[in-house]
């Protein structure tokens, strides 16, 4: 276990640019093979194997390709990308450069959320230094490879973290998700093959090239290898960014952050799941409870319905409005929560709401709508005694 507020993370143990040097000294397929062997999976939440993604983009035809670093970090309760960008920006740029080399891209774009505008001057100066040191720009490390990175700002829309919405936004459109397929790896930014990776994924990729796939595989589980950063907030003694191996149990994690008396924990942010105390033995891994790293702890006094309401308000506001299940479903669920709060919801209506949530999961166009009912559904499932037949609370 490592905690960002207590000392350096594993990222600090990797020699700067070792990964980049190692990558450029090798053939492209070898570099991809190393990443694939490491088992690295996307740290942005969806967990897509990074080696596969790079391989697809590398194999896609076309001279012009792009590497996009997803620094939109908008999932409620997530802030580990901010910590990485503040403390280890070189590693992220290094990861992007490596990705550029393996897929044959010359341009990289960081899509930085508007809320992190204050990081911009520091990031720009790191980029300038990298250019000065021959780590970006023309003929990187004298290996005849050209690559440069620019930073673009978001403008306050959570949905733009979804990779196709992000691309729409970069192209100067409303951040409305596209249908997939086609996937960005063949039809991405300005219709060119594009790799979109999370900040943390890129940083680990650089570490893997520096330390080797075996080193990374030495942590975590068979299906969820390696280390992972967790953003821990809510009712605990020591909130902050933590590094744990994948596969850690929820109970262990809570013990480390000082949240022994938690009654439930939201894993994966607003779009994740609410796990009750009786399931704290479960593990955080792609094969069990998956997450982009957000852990929000709820203490014994918390009103779960109020929490569900907060999440639904979030989705109601952030839905892009393109498709009906999400645009109309979220306000409907929110209205349902209000009825429950007032103690005016029949069991039959609650069942209708649950059915609506399940429909939203399958019928929504993008991940936002598909996951927006999760929190509500898991709270209704695990805390029925708390939500039915309430007497209205004095507000």
């Amino acid at each position: 276990m490592k905690a960002a507020h207590e000392g350096p993370l594993t990222f600090a143990e990797v020699q700067p640019n070792d990964g980049l040097k190692a990558a450029l000294a090798r053939k492209r397929p070898d570099v991809i093979a190393e990443i694939t062997r490491s088992g690295l999976r996307g740290r942005g939440g969806a967990g897509f194997p990074t080696g596969v993604k790079w391989n697809l983009a590398g194999a896609a035809s076309g001279e012009e390709k792009y590497i996009v670093c997803n620094a939109d970090e908008g999932e409620p309760g997530t802030f580990k990308d901010r910590v990485i960008l503040s403390q280890y920006p070189d590693l992220v740029f290094e990861g992007m450069t490596i990705a550029g080399y393996v897929v044959g891209a010359k341009r990289g774009i960081v899509y930085l959320r508007a809320e992190y505008t204050y990081l911009l001057p520091q990031l720009e100066s790191v980029l300038a230094q990298r250019r000065e040191h021959g780590l970006l720009g023309h003929n990187i490390l004298d290996k005849g490879f050209d690559f440069d990175i620019e930073i673009r700002l978001g403008a306050g829309a959570y949905v733009c973290g979804e990779e196709t919405a992000l691309i729409e936004s970069l192209e100067g459109h409303r951040g409305e998700p596209r249908n997939r397929p086609p996937f960005p790896v063949d039809t991405g930014f300005v219709r060119r093959p594009t790799v979109v990776n999370n900040v943390e994924t890129l940083a680990w990729a650089a570490c893997i090239l520096a330390r080797g796939a075996e080193w990374f595989r030495g942590f975590g589980t068979e299906k969820s290898t390696g280390l992972k950063l967790f953003s821990v907030s809510g009712d605990c003694e020591r909130p902050g960014v933590y590094e744990f191996p994948m596969g850690i149990s929820i109970g262990e994690l809570l013990e480390e952050v000082g949240a022994r008396d938690a009654k439930a924990v939201q894993i994966g942010g607003a779009s994740g799941h609410c796990v009750p105390r009786c399931e704290f033995h479960r593990t955080i891994a792609f094969e069990d409870v998956a997450t982009g790293g957000s852990v929000i702890v709820f203490g014994p006094q918390r009103d779960m319905l109020k929490i569900a309401r907060n999440f639904l308000e979030f989705f109601t506001e952030e839905s892009c409005g393109q498709c009906t299940p999400c645009r109309d479903g979220n306000p409907k669920l929110l209205e349902g929560v209000r009825l429950l709060e007032e103690g005016r919801c029949s069991m039959r209506y609650l069942r209708d709401l649950i059915a609506l949530g399940e429909t939203m999961r399958v019928a929504s166009k993008c991940g936002l709508g598909q996951s927006s009912p999760n929190a509500f559904l898991s709270i209704v499932k695990h805390f029925p005694q708390e939500i039915m037949g309430r007497t209205p609370q004095a507000v």
């Binding site: 997530t78 953003s231 907060n310 308000e313």
Partner: protein
């Protein structure tokens, strides 16, 4: 707007479009520039940008209306955005909200009469371990307490005073 002002603005936008490559991908950076400098994107600005990038003004408007950090209505010099998402909620954002409304004398969604402050809600700012969190323009404040609200507002006022003073001196020189 005076004719000369319009001309100056058009010229500025033309230079901006050149700098960003005069294509659709330049739209967001141009709008962000305008928003930062003028606190909103006026109908006239949208028209000029549309012409420069060869797209319909309605397109530009639809982009402006999509993003929370862009808008066609003038906002205050200082935009105060309080996070209302879950972790800040657990950390007591409601009290901060009330204090902000009291100290600024406006409800959420409004701008003070002197055009100094706009008070808005924001969703998760990525500061969840140190909530309640708020943004004032690009600046982040964490662990905000009701007492600190007053300090933050005064800090902005002082900064604006300093800024205005410097501008005056520059003009005199």
């Amino acid at each position: 707007m005076l004719v000369t002002e319009r001309e100056r603005l058009s010229e500025e936008l033309r230079e901006l479009a050149e700098a960003y490559g005069r294509q659709r991908t330049a739209l967001l950076p141009m709008l962000q520039h305008v928003q930062r400098k003028y606190n909103h994107v006026s109908a006239y600005t949208m028209q000029v940008i549309a012409d420069l990038l060869d797209i319909h003004p309605v397109e530009v408007h639809s982009v402006v209306s999509f993003y929370a950090f862009l808008g066609d209505k003038p906002r205050g010099r200082f935009i105060v955005r309080l996070c209302r998402t879950i972790s800040c909620d657990l950390a007591g954002k409601d009290r901060i909200a009330r204090q902000l409304e009291n100290d600024l004398g406006i409800p959420f969604g409004q701008t003070t009469g002197d055009g100094m402050f706009t008070l808005e809600w924001a969703n998760c700012l990525g500061m969840c371990d140190r909530g309640p969190a708020l943004l004032v323009n690009d600046r982040v404040y964490t662990g905000v307490t009701a007492e600190k609200v007053h300090e933050i507002i005064e800090e902005c006022r002082a900064e604006f005073g300093l800024h205005a003073l410097r501008k005056k001196e520059e003009q005199r020189a």
